[in-house]
Amino acid sequence: MAEPLLLTERLTKRFGGLVATDELDLSVVDGEVHAIIGPNGAGKTTLIAQLAGELKPDSGTIRFAGADITRLAPHLRSARGLARSFQITSIFADLTALDNVALAVQAHAGHSFRFWRSAETETALREPARAVLAQVGLAERADAPAASLAHGEKRALEMAMALATRPRLLLLDEPMAGMGPEDSVRIVGLLAGLKGSLTILLVEHDMDAVFALADRITVLVDGSAIACGLPAEIRDNAEVRRAYLGEEAAS
């Protein structure tokens, strides 16, 4: 079998005495939606930060598309097709929604030492950006300052910026965080539509969304994977129920 798209081996990250990632072996197969669930403090966001390159692991390796990227800078990982969204919305608040996405397109359209032509007139940047905005349902809001968007719209913009880099692997850190049911349904629909065209690593607390989307689920507790398998297996796993899904599921 070919090497998985993303592979971590004995990945470890400590903050003082706290082990946030504990010799984690994780494999994400090309084309799957792989969900990571776990209680608060299980090390999910720390894991995403290491995969995206913002945090350096203390030991272990990260392989992506057949190459070791453990020490690679974030922007170089992005160039290789790894995109992320942030748990806490991270956008360019003082630019318009369209500018936000156009910048993400621009990042993957050659170097930006172009000083003279107005970026606003470059259809090669604006058209793909508009298409992605339409994909996440923000076509009407293209010219609105990002700061003025509603929370759900900002989350959608967050997703649009990641998609606009045309990634092979999308790291989504709680894309539904703080969303109302209506917005959540929209994002689940969007992600379902993306299934098959790219690989997704999804960290999410919304169990309905996880079980609706995931091909495989890894359960993270105290930095290590206590279980990994198909949604049905995870649902029936006694250890997982005890550690995470809680009494209501165990009863």
Binding site: G53, H75, S78, A79, F92, L103, A107, F115
Partner: protein, 319 residues
């Protein structure tokens, strides 16, 4: 609130037309002194504009721009000292020398941000200042007299104050235009993105450091040209030009006029230097009066004077 006919967009145009009229008006009034004052104002307008490119668009609060101004002025002075009078050489060397210093300062300072960035740029500027004081060959503390103006192949006679005025005016217009293009280009979008959210820029794939450094070098080069203009006006350069308080003055002009607006810093230079000139004729303690005025402007006009005149937009004008 004060609003201008024709809307905020016409404000820079009106301002530049007024600046273009300064020489005939002051000669008509028999007050040629104003030509000198406004020449100096426009030179500092260029310096403030160059700072705004990195501060207002790139979020880099540099406290070193007096050094680039000084390097440019000394480049012109030292070339003249060795008998080089060609103005094209003067300005090319002034721009390049300041760009090189900015490259070095930026390459080190841009590894930090915020107040650390400010302190490191200040430290480098002080090094350049003390270097100028210690090199006795070029006058040391006393400064260096310059024998003659830059000679642009005999095309313009800079001994004539009006000719010098329009050279500075033309340079200011050119730099405003160039900066206006830059901030809207792909490069400018990267700068604005890096100011807004640098972490996000890395995540979507931008190596922000090299773009910020490039902006810093462009800014330094522009400020160096302003220095060469200043040397032409005074026919004298001294380390005092590079004193750290000068960097603060340029920063103050940008903040007063309005960051991230290109024309704002020019307006800031006008207001700052006219205030300085007016108040210093009233009392020798003019700085005691200037300080409170500056504080009031910065507190009550969050987008600077330009923002105030333009009807206080919710965010900085887009170039």
């Amino acid at each position: 609130m004060l609003r201008l006919a024709g809307g905020p967009r016409s404000l820079p145009l009106i301002g530049m037309i007024l600046l273009a009229l300064v020489p005939p008006v002051s000669l008509g009034l028999g007050e040629p002194f104003y030509i000198d004052l406004f020449t100096r104002i426009m030179v500092f307008g260029i310096a403030a504009l160059s700072l705004d490119l990195v501060l207002g668009y790139g979020g880099m609060a540099s406290f070193s721009h007096a050094a680039y101004l000084g390097v440019g002025a000394y480049a012109m002075g030292i070339l003249s000292f060795y008998g080089v009078t060609d103005g094209f050489v003067h300005f090319a060397v002034a721009g390049l020398a300041a760009a090189l210093v900015a490259l070095f300062v930026g390459a080190v300072s841009l590894r930090t941000s915020g107040v650390y960035f400010l302190m490191i740029t200040l430290a480098f500027a002080q090094m350049v200042y003390f270097l100028a004081i210690s090199v006795n060959k070029y006058g040391g503390d006393d400064g260096l007299n310059i024998k003659q103006h830059s000679d642009f192949a005999g095309l313009i006679d800079l001994d004539n104050a009006t000719a010098l005025y329009y050279l500075v005016f033309g340079t200011l217009v050119a730099f405003l235009w160039i900066c206006g293009r830059i901030v809207k280009s792909r490069f400018g979008m990267v700068l604005r993105g890096a100011k807004s959210n640098e972490r996000r820029m890395s995540a979507i794939g931008f190596p922000t450091f090299r773009y910020k450094l490039a902006a810093f070098v462009i800014s330094g080069a522009m400020c160096g040209c302003a220095g060469a203009l200043l040397a032409n006006q005074a026919l004298f350069v001294s380390p005092a030009l590079m004193h750290w308080s000068r960097s603060g003055e340029i920063l103050m002009m940008v903040l007063m006029g309005g960051t991230g607006s290109l024309f704002g810093p020019v307006l800031g230079a006008v207001v700052y230097l006219v205030l300085e000139d007016t108040l210093s004729t009233i009392t020798s303690y003019w700085q005691l009066l200037l300080g409170p005025i500056l504080i009031v402007i910065v507190i009550f006009a969050r987008h600077g004077i330009l923002g105030l005149l333009a009807g206080a937009p919710r965010r900085p004008a887009r170039g």
